[in-house]
Symmetry: D2
Subunit: 463 residues, 4 copies
Amino acid sequence: MFGIYDHPEAVEMTYLALFAQQHRGQESAGICSSDHNQITRYAGLGLVTEVFTPRHLEQLRNPIAVGHVRYSTTGSPNIHNSQPLLVEYARGQVAVCHNGNLINAGLLRHTYEEQGHIFQTTSDTEVIIHLLADPEHMNMSDAISHSLTHLQGSFSLLVLLPDRIEATRDPYGIRPLCIGRLANGSYCVASETIALDVIDASYVRDVEPGEIVTIDKDGLHSRFYVDASRYRPAHCIFEMVYFADPSSSVFRQNVHQARLAMGSQLAREAPVKADLVIAVPNCARCAAIGYANQSGIPVGRGFTTSHYTGRSFIMPSQASRDLAVKMKLNVIREAVGGKRLVVIEDSVVRGTTTRGKMGALRTAGAKEIHLRVASPPIRHGCYFGIDFPDPSILVATGRTVEQIREYLGVDSLHYLSIEGMLDCARMVPSKYCTACFSGKYPIDVTTPTEKFALERRQLRLFT
Amino acid sequence: MFGIYDHPEAVEMTYLALFAQQHRGQESAGICSSDHNQITRYAGLGLVTEVFTPRHLEQLRNPIAVGHVRYSTTGSPNIHNSQPLLVEYARGQVAVCHNGNLINAGLLRHTYEEQGHIFQTTSDTEVIIHLLADPEHMNMSDAISHSLTHLQGSFSLLVLLPDRIEATRDPYGIRPLCIGRLANGSYCVASETIALDVIDASYVRDVEPGEIVTIDKDGLHSRFYVDASRYRPAHCIFEMVYFADPSSSVFRQNVHQARLAMGSQLAREAPVKADLVIAVPNCARCAAIGYANQSGIPVGRGFTTSHYTGRSFIMPSQASRDLAVKMKLNVIREAVGGKRLVVIEDSVVRGTTTRGKMGALRTAGAKEIHLRVASPPIRHGCYFGIDFPDPSILVATGRTVEQIREYLGVDSLHYLSIEGMLDCARMVPSKYCTACFSGKYPIDVTTPTEKFALERRQLRLFT
Amino acid sequence: MFGIYDHPEAVEMTYLALFAQQHRGQESAGICSSDHNQITRYAGLGLVTEVFTPRHLEQLRNPIAVGHVRYSTTGSPNIHNSQPLLVEYARGQVAVCHNGNLINAGLLRHTYEEQGHIFQTTSDTEVIIHLLADPEHMNMSDAISHSLTHLQGSFSLLVLLPDRIEATRDPYGIRPLCIGRLANGSYCVASETIALDVIDASYVRDVEPGEIVTIDKDGLHSRFYVDASRYRPAHCIFEMVYFADPSSSVFRQNVHQARLAMGSQLAREAPVKADLVIAVPNCARCAAIGYANQSGIPVGRGFTTSHYTGRSFIMPSQASRDLAVKMKLNVIREAVGGKRLVVIEDSVVRGTTTRGKMGALRTAGAKEIHLRVASPPIRHGCYFGIDFPDPSILVATGRTVEQIREYLGVDSLHYLSIEGMLDCARMVPSKYCTACFSGKYPIDVTTPTEKFALERRQLRLFT
Amino acid sequence: MFGIYDHPEAVEMTYLALFAQQHRGQESAGICSSDHNQITRYAGLGLVTEVFTPRHLEQLRNPIAVGHVRYSTTGSPNIHNSQPLLVEYARGQVAVCHNGNLINAGLLRHTYEEQGHIFQTTSDTEVIIHLLADPEHMNMSDAISHSLTHLQGSFSLLVLLPDRIEATRDPYGIRPLCIGRLANGSYCVASETIALDVIDASYVRDVEPGEIVTIDKDGLHSRFYVDASRYRPAHCIFEMVYFADPSSSVFRQNVHQARLAMGSQLAREAPVKADLVIAVPNCARCAAIGYANQSGIPVGRGFTTSHYTGRSFIMPSQASRDLAVKMKLNVIREAVGGKRLVVIEDSVVRGTTTRGKMGALRTAGAKEIHLRVASPPIRHGCYFGIDFPDPSILVATGRTVEQIREYLGVDSLHYLSIEGMLDCARMVPSKYCTACFSGKYPIDVTTPTEKFALERRQLRLFT
């Protein structure tokens, strides 16, 4: 997610910034831009580099722009759900980019439908616009603030109006959002600081939980739509563990440094005698270096990775499809043969891929495999923006660590403790959401039952 | 380059094997397959995953197949030059895949043109087919052998006839070519062993310099079209240094191990006091680990790399194009800030990219930058299959190492010595071609002058 | 526009029926289909044969379907405006196909926007869905009837709900809509009878002005949402003159027969001594035969037409673009040279094309050109579904017939009289809308002024 | 086929001229252009408007151009066979466009293959280039003349060399080829005069049988490669009957006039009492008018035709595919119901389409159907450029006219006599090839048997 105000190359900057944040969503990509009066949109299914041609960028050429890359979900990708959403309402055009997940979207949608509103997507984001257009809100002096107070869940939002950008975060600060500034004075906003780096913008500060930052011709303005001090922050620790890019800082901490620390902590919690530390590419490399530094075991390279995996494989037969899985990682036989290995993983979700990799190391002649995971076991669903599969198919659900070890076929297995993980984070432990590991949700998502049942219906539609 | 004989999923295997060897050529990809009687072809510009759809693979379905990925050259990519070439001559259909470069292609073409032959490509590969079809050769009992004796330069070749594959290498063994076998007994041939790994084939042996290996319904047959003992081998050392995949073995040596050794040797030749060893992604990581192991300086991660660079950028304006260069590598500021760095590069060609990276490290706060290159300076052109730019724009041409250091903006710079590099290779030094480093060519390419002048004209057309 | 209920090949039937009615709209094509529970949609810009691939038809495979071809308008074609529109509202999914034009769309939209509704298209059709979803209507026993009473203008509508099709016409019956039945008993609805012919359906009857016909599992049901007897019918006479296909029957009359009669009447009103009657292809051929039969002058062929004009030309330079205009009609020099010609045109709008054709005949050696137009001069805009250009650029605006004759460069020119035209129609003259010829609109579109001003703003958006 | 020399918009002119001649070939389209030094090519499968985008025309921009539309054949369309062929031989580049069929292509190809030549297409045109490149010819002062004397069969050829166009016809003049001149003095050549008309070129004269016309910077030059007076002309009468566009003149006669005459002659040969003459669209309309004029029976319109058949249908199921056949022609029920019809066809090949149309007329209520075909029964194959199906599936093979009548389901059936047809042609009967009707071939294609057997093998490959 990215927005930039009043820059001659706003659209190119947005394109670059989306590309740098491609890891945050590969399902669809879109840009809306404004010439101060009229908003233009282009979006499509696929990667940023697949969706946009030079002609599209040219047609979008305008000094104000926001863009979005959408998360790949379990449902079939749908062009109508691609963001930014752009609609017309009584006050003119409005476009919205949303990162996060609204847990009361179903309820809100139901209410508006009963009032005669019609919906054209199955995305939870659409209700935000209906809130904005609600006469109760739109006729008030600060329609956005009034609208936001009705949302429950996680949301980092960019709202593009013809003449300004409004950037905001939920009161818990679950998803990141930061502000940057370019050499020419233009302000921009982004999910991660990597987006600022690639366009040579300097980091200004994070958008605060509960804050609305307006960027318009008079510069930057701040206001709060809630008293944020009444909320306990719940920054998503999984951004640190896996989701964000290592070179980014999110929640005021560099991700690479956090992962190095988690690797070191893992070495302290679960030491082992071995010849070589290797990482499962690519992200786990930070933690692997941390582990190696702490343990004194040399770090090496056990796999090579293809540079050409931008597009997925097309394999007409099952046999060849099985082989295709191997393509993404090639074991370097000579590096691991006869060695006692410490293998570092960032996190293990379903376990199937990890199991395959461990088998490949074994086939290549590894003498011992000691798997160390630089995060705790994932045993709970996320309702705030990470698309984990159903808990029933997580490898750690209903399995002890010993049973997981057996399933993965390794000689020993240790996960980082929740406490150890939080020790590596910059803020006090209470400021993070660890729900996927601990089951402790920052917002109550389970009662009343009826409401949750409704959500379930909606979740099928929305996520 | 890959070929496989008599396998129910020959075409899928070829697709996977080409994908695994995509680093050997990104300009075009093609497959020819045979049902023992009739050869079918499909080829296109782009990456393997871009060229082939499931429909194409289905239409190619046949038990015998060869495939090729073509090297990006300085000339404009041309669909007519994509391989395998497929033609009809007096003895029926023949398809050819060629890896290497023929230095007498111009002369041969001229001769055949004067005899009334017509040409449809500007590729040097086409003359091979004209040699095969020459009545002087085609009526002899072993037309291929007779044809090959007329070729000068480097060539690893796969010749597909409706009922067999012929695989051969030039007498110097400049480019690699190996034989594998699948569980069902089918034989295959590939440029690198990584292609065997991805299809679960076991490595049998290399095709020998000067050897022709025939794969047909009776299995594997070998013959030699020259007395190879009369030639001194000249295996391309640049395959070890940079070109081949680390998990492959070429010239009977694992590439990763060779690069580890080169890194260690570099540490011995050019030690330095520093806090951290980092690699310029991705290949240099092997050498970086070698340097770290030998020096005792911890290895770390200085850059993150995008996973989504399968397609190149499209940037309408120059300013944004400059920014786009940065996209491929993002410095992890926190990892390098305030540090004395040993930066490992595999090789430096033009120097512009390396220079940019060094600048990025400096901007991110690196205290000292000690660049160590795990190969000698490249100062000479290659006429045998590596597409270096014109020697005049190589950074090492006409510059001392000190001048290069200044240009790249680093605190110290050392290259691996030619002797040190050869020490890391498995065979005796005399068996490698080091021409790009040493200027010593295994085949005379400079006399007689007239001939070379002609070649020059042809080189414009061919390479 | 076409709909079909409960047929195993409903989607293919719809595809064929849209193709047969392609002359009714070339801007976009779309189909929605239902499996009795869930509606699926595919639409795109272009001709039916360009928009749909076999894969699309396969994905749409369902027993209930409606489809639409959209009229090319002066505004830029917009994928978001392509029909059928499909949305979700409180009662589930609904898809709408609309043929016609709503003159109060702007007012209705404004009202709903003030109530907080949001809009995603600039098409007038979208307000129909907002009316349906309005709690005032949707909670009544017959929401559709209540909604329709709020529409002003022309509309033949197909409303697809998951389990039924509702087909309706405005109280004036401005646009056609008929019912057919297939051999297996399935009912279908279509704008023109040609759509029934191509799928071997027999004509049952027209949907009546003010009637709603429901097709569901119990067959065909009829009701009236207004007392239609209180409205004077206003069938668009331009459907007879030009718009509908000659083989269709609309308003219970065969179009070819009507045009034959108009040609005969034209011969009675404006006889001339000549050698040959020729038609300007292709529609005018009916009238030309009528003129020839009545006058006794033999009918001949003066032009040949290209069979390959499905896609428009792409011509980079102006000079070549001018030539391209000639491509659609080639004069047969030998047929017209030295002849006194009666040239028959259906209607003349801008006059530029006709002028070009007359020039071409002159160049080819025609001795005399007597242009006879089988309809009256067009001098007024249409607000009910025919996309005439702005009246100011109609050739007949502000020009006498004599001045038009001069402009077109012909020896004599006669238009069919309004009375003569209406004599050829099957019903009494008062049952037709002749506004484009006579300026007499069936619905008041000019007062109150304020309202019309608003419409003007909306017209910019909608048409 | 079209060529133009030295015109600033040569490529656009070629595009237009190919479009105007699209009826001569729908399989592929291609253009080669030259800047006097270098020839550039673009070709693709499909219609002219599908193959070329503005970008292609821009890339081809050059003052000299030739283009070709290729005939749809029974074999699968093949991009490698699309014309113009462009190759490089000892004297540089050469491109060839060929309209016709070479009956000794197989023999020539065999001979060249034995000399070591390789072939890349399965088109008979490729041997022409091998003849040109043959040292025996290419070193003579007039290589083209020497090459042409070796060709047997029909050929109208355009040979593009970097600095000139050579246009030639076989000694029998089987296929047409004419010369035109533009206002700026540029010369052009085309298969049919319609191509001259659309670019405002005036007709100069036909290229003569056996003549080579060179267009270069010095204008137009003529020479003869054979003594044409020794050959009896054999102009393809089927061009007059069906193949050429009515507005063209071929063999110095306007096609429309010829067809009018054939219609009149048919009325004299086979009169009948009837109410209405109708044509089976579109070409038969000329003959229908002729029949009506002669018989005094009024001509009418029985079918309407779709304007949108540029692309063929895609119909996943058989049932819908059967319906799709109906799409191309819609009977106007009201025009034919209760009438005694004279139905005019140009020619009947397989009979299946005609049979379907007659059935449709019957279903629509025709009282009597008297089919009159404005050409004789086709009972023999064509080896000179018309792609009839195998004689065994022609409707007239092994059937008497009475049996054909029964099969087609009409009340009476008459064909035009061969003598009557030839009476309508401008030249003496002996100057036409009537082989498909009479079995009398202008060139012996049946002996010696061995040779023909070889041709049969080649025909499989080539046509």
